[in-house]
């Protein structure tokens, strides 16, 4: 699959403040989570992606276009900005309709799309009310509606889940999944890592304006050798299982937890562990109840890498 | 749950929470301290009032200086009649001189008017508007304070800055007069005048502070509020003058704050400006009504803020 976003030694400053230092990354189709601590440069990267800013060094192409002011690209891209700004005087529907007019649709078609998009983000009932009366979550969803209404190939969404209540969060996540199922690409940033993880395994981790990691979360976890992988087990007979596991060469350490049925395994070769565990547990007859690797999550990877 | 240690231990508070704390003054003082943080605007805002005060004080000093020279010259003469005449003359001159002190002070205040409104506006218009914009009032109203305390606190801050540019100069100039007058005569003979001057300055500040806060409470942005303040201030004067001219009745000038204070100073110090035709009570009523209006606006707005809107 060819990359949809290619950044090469990308840098952007705000005066003396660095937004993005030196970023080389290529993003492939599908859902990609853009994560990183505050001030890492996620928003700057997204702004460069949609051509709100121009790079100071390096280059960026999206679908083969240089984004700044590129009209062909804007037909294929939708952007949901982070800042809570809308044209306050109009209704959500009118807002999306006007934006769709700018996207090149005739009047009726624009209105049809606006209505469809507002329904899609769950604002069907509120769409004829003024934007200024909306709650924070509704405004966020209105911004999302204008980003998806024209059926773009790529949706870039900067923190699209902030301010949403759990119900709206769920709806929005479903919307992203549905978009991905339709073959669209979604690039989204969020601080809430487990939500990103529920959407996708592919992530781009930016830290201090540079690329820190990219790819599938589990693969990335396996690349981190500094910290042995930790797997939590629960069994009827944890001691038996523990002694059996200690015989395996890839297991570095096993410790028992206080409650008498938990077991913590540390291994530097988690791939083999998973591969062999079924056989080991089958032999041991220890009554395995659960097996959870608690540091294979995006959050754990994030912590190990960002520190 | 990941293990985590907090070596920094939370310590419970063992002291007492007093029921009668001076909460308003705490709030006022915190507002003043924020104002002190930025030095440059302070320099610009206070430079002109400061210069005017120094000039005023200098004038007063000069007058008394001249007087004391005459005095020493005359008392050197030992002839009885001449001495009596001289004393008479000195007393007259002194009275005239002392009378003109208030003239100097009021003129200085008149010239300063615009800068005073500017200074009070600069420091005051942000007080409530910024709170509203940043929703900082949520922090204040989560404390055991009432709306009235909040208002007093904010008023205190504006009064402080207003006093710096109005009551301060008046005090300095009165002080100069006291020290320059022979035998503290300004203090002993005319202490009522000093009180009246200070009272007048204080009233001036209070009324304008209320206006500043009322404007601040209806705006969301400080700049808007500042523009609004000047808008209202000048609009009232212009409307008063215009209506007075149109309907040929000077009473319309009651609309103008400036004119009302002129009337007040005429009554207090007997310095006629000629254009004021109505009675003192009318002016007092006008000022009271104006303050009442400001308070009503403030109360409504602060009520909304207390409810967290």
């Amino acid at each position: 699959m060819s990359a949809i976003v290619e950044a090469e030694a990308l840098g952007r400053w705000y005066g003396e403040v660095v937004g993005l230092g030196d970023l080389t990354v290529s993003i492939e189709p599908g859902i990609t989570g853009l994560v990183g601590p505050n001030g890492a440069g996620k928003s700057t990267f997204m702004k460069l992606m949609v051509g709100e800013l121009r790079p100071h060094r390096g280059s960026i192409t999206v679908l083969g276009h240089r984004p700044f002011g590129s009209r062909p690209l804007y037909r294929r891209l939708g952007f949901c900005p982070q800042q809570d700004a809308l044209y306050e005087h109009q209704s959500g529907r009118a807002f999306v309709r006007d934006i769709m007019r700018l996207a090149g649709f005739p009047r009726k078609e624009a209105d049809r799309r606006a209505v469809a998009a507002m329904e899609r983000v769950g604002l069907a009932e509120a769409m004829d009310r003024k934007v200024s009366d909306y709650s924070k979550g509704m405004r966020q969803r209105t911004r999302l509606a204008q980003a998806v209404a024209h059926d773009p190939e790529i949706i870039v969404a900067d923190e699209p889940l902030t301010g949403l209540d759990p119900i709206a969060r769920r709806q929005t996540l479903e919307l992203f999944r549905a978009l991905a199922n339709d073959g669209k690409s979604v690039i989204l940033s969020s601080h809430v890592l487990h939500e990103v993880e529920s959407l996708t395994d592919t992530m781009v981790l930016i830290h201090r304006g540079r690329l820190l990691a990219q790819g599938n979360v589990r693969d990335v976890r396996r690349l981190i050798n500094k910290h042995p992988s930790r797997v939590h087990l629960k069994a009827r007979d944890p001691r038996g299982l523990a002694s059996r596991l200690l015989d395996e060469p890839y297991v570095n350490a096993v410790s028992l937890s206080g409650d008498g049925e938990g077991l913590l395994v540390e291994t530097l070769d988690v791939g083999t562990f998973h591969q062999r565990f079924a056989a080991v547990a089958g032999e041991a007859d220890a009554g395995v109840r659960s097996l959870v690797s608690d540091d294979a999550s995006l959050e754990a990877v994030f912590d190990y890498l960002v520190g | 749950m990941r293990a985590r240690t907090h070596t920094e231990i939370y310590r419970p508070f063992r002291g007492a929470i007093s029921a009668s704390a001076a909460r308003a003054s705490t709030l006022a003082w915190s507002g003043v301290r924020v104002g002190f943080k930025r030095k440059l605007p302070m320099l610009f805002l206070f430079a002109i009032p400061l210069i005017a005060t120094i000039v005023g004080a200098f004038q007063i000093q000069l007058k008394f200086d001249a007087l004391s020279k005459e005095l020493s010259f005359i008392t050197a003469d030992d002839a009885d009649v001449q001495a009596k005449m001289a004393n008479q003359f000195v007393a007259n001159g002194l009275a005239e001189l002392l009378g003109s002190v208030e003239q100097i002070i009021l003129t200085t205040l008149g010239t300063l008017q615009f800068f005073v409104v500017l200074a009070m506006g600069w420091y005051g218009t942000g007080l409530i508007a910024e709170d509203k914009r940043l929703r900082a009032h949520l922090l204040y109203f989560a404390r055991p304070i009432t709306r009235w305390t909040y208002l007093r606190g904010k008023l205190g801050t504006v009064l402080f800055w207003g006093s710096c540019v109005v009551v301060g100069p008046v005090t300095v100039m009165c002080g100069t007069a006291v020290f320059a007058s022979p035998e503290w005569s300004f203090l002993t003979d005319r202490w009522q005048l000093i009180l009246k001057l200070e009272g007048y300055a204080l009233l001036w500040v209070v009324v304008h502070a209320l206006l500043v806060l009322a404007v601040s409470s209806v705006c969301r942005l400080r700049n808007q509020a500042l523009a609004g303040l000047f808008g209202i201030y000048f609009l009232m004067s212009i409307a008063g003058e215009l209506l007075a001219w149109l309907f040929d009745s000077a009473n319309w000038r009651l609309l103008s704050l400036v004119r009302n204070f002129e009337r007040l100073s005429e009554a207090l110090f007997g310095i006629a400006s000629g254009e004021v035709t109505w009675g003192l009570e009318a002016s007092l009523w006008a000022l009271a009504a104006f303050c009442g209006l400001c308070l009503v606006v403030l109360d409504a707005q602060i009520k909304k803020m207390e409810l967290g809107r």
Binding site: P37, L164, P166, A279, A281, V292 | Y10, V34, L134
Partner: protein, 345 residues
């Protein structure tokens, strides 16, 4: 505290009936049929609530009445009807409503911080507004700033603070008068993972170790799950669900979530042959070739996963995860909201 849906339907078994002799220390917040209306609009339509000690999560969709409830607990509003007692005070008179705020600390959601001040100034001023003496206020300000780990920055103006520092400062000011009840409105808003963990660590410490009654409002249910013992769900002005999180999200005994790699399908088929019932998890609709595992119900008589391990070993599939299915707090919340929504219709 026993978990229960819609206490009104339960005939008042939960919360405990007043005056019951066995009832423990009175809870800090006690609401009975609390109603608050603005004109014709009813924001709260009869809330019954007893706040258990420790950290409690307050959940609810937007517009459910959470903000009104917080204002009431802060003594900013007077209840229209019903009984309320906050820290032993009833917010019916103006005086007691002001008094309540000496016992309650509030961390608002919005930014709130005036530029120009420093952290020490802000916190000590707010402490003095609460009624602490001058020395007390300064000592306390430094203590709570230490507690939230605002180091040298406390002497700098707030203008340059990062989001994480601002949030911690807001927590510090809520703590300065050592209140019995802490109302935290979205304390993790806008924080990155590290900042969020820090904040949650503080909230947990306050609730669990320092004996504060913490009411945590958050849209991020995992945060609530992580820090709180209990939840209260408010929907359309009523507390439709309150109970302990551990009970509400108790694990099921016989359903396991099983995950391998690409061979998910193979294992699925192999398990079904042995009498397991397999299904795709419902909370995450399948997207393309799923690698997210499936749910397997154990056949009768089995209580562990040894057989699954054996089967996996036979077909040589790696085992990435075996875990008893647990209702997530999100599911609990969504069910509560849906149930309520249907009642209304």
């Amino acid at each position: 505290m026993k978990s229960s849906h819609a206490p009104t339907a339960d005939g008042g078994t939960v919360p405990a009936a007043p005056g019951r002799p066995s009832s423990p220390a009175p809870s800090i917040v006690r609401l009975r049929g609390l109603v608050k209306s603005y004109g014709d609009v009813q924001a709260l339509r009869g809330v019954d609530m007893d706040l258990p000690p420790g950290p409690v999560g307050l959940l609810g969709p937007n517009g459910a009445g959470k903000t009104t409830l917080i204002s009431l607990l802060l003594g900013l509003l007077e209840p229209t009807a019903g009984e309320a007692s906050v820290a032993g005070l009833t917010p019916t008179t103006r005086k007691s409503r002001v008094e309540i705020r000496k016992r309650v600390g509030y961390m608002p959601e919005s930014d709130c911080l005036l530029p120009g001040m420093t952290a020490v100034e802000l916190v000590s001023t707010l402490a003095r507004l609460t009624g602490l003496g001058k020395q007390d206020a300064m000592t306390r300000a430094h203590e709570v700033l230490d507690y939230v780990e605002l180091e040298e920055a406390r002497y700098r103006p707030l203008d340059g603070y990062s989001t994480g520092m601002k949030q911690r400062l807001k927590l510090a000011q809520a703590l300065v008068h050592d209140p019995d009840l802490l109302l935290l409105d979205e304390p993790t808003n806008g924080l990155d993972p590290k900042g969020r963990r820090h904040m949650l660590g503080l909230v947990e410490d306050l609730g669990r170790n320092q004996g504060k009654n913490v009411l945590l409002c958050s849209h991020l249910l995992p945060d609530v799950e992580r820090t709180c013992d209990h939840v209260v769900v408010i929907v359309e002005g009523r507390a439709v669900l309150q109970g302990s999180i551990a009970e509400l999200t108790a694990a099921e005994a016989t359903r396991l979530r099983v995950q391998t790699d690409e061979r998910d399908g193979d294992l699925w088929r192999a398990l079904e042959e042995r009498g397991y019932r397999c299904e795709t998890p419902d909370e995450e609709p399948a997207m393309g070739p799923t690698q997210r595992g499936f749910l397997a119900t154990l056949p009768d008589g089995r209580s562990d996963a040894d057989e699954i391990c054996a089967i996996a070993a036979q077909i040589d599939a790696p085992l990435l995860q075996i875990e008893p299915v647990r209702r997530s707090l999100e599911q609990v919340f969504l069910t509560a909201v849906d149930g309520r929504g249907e009642d209304q219709r």
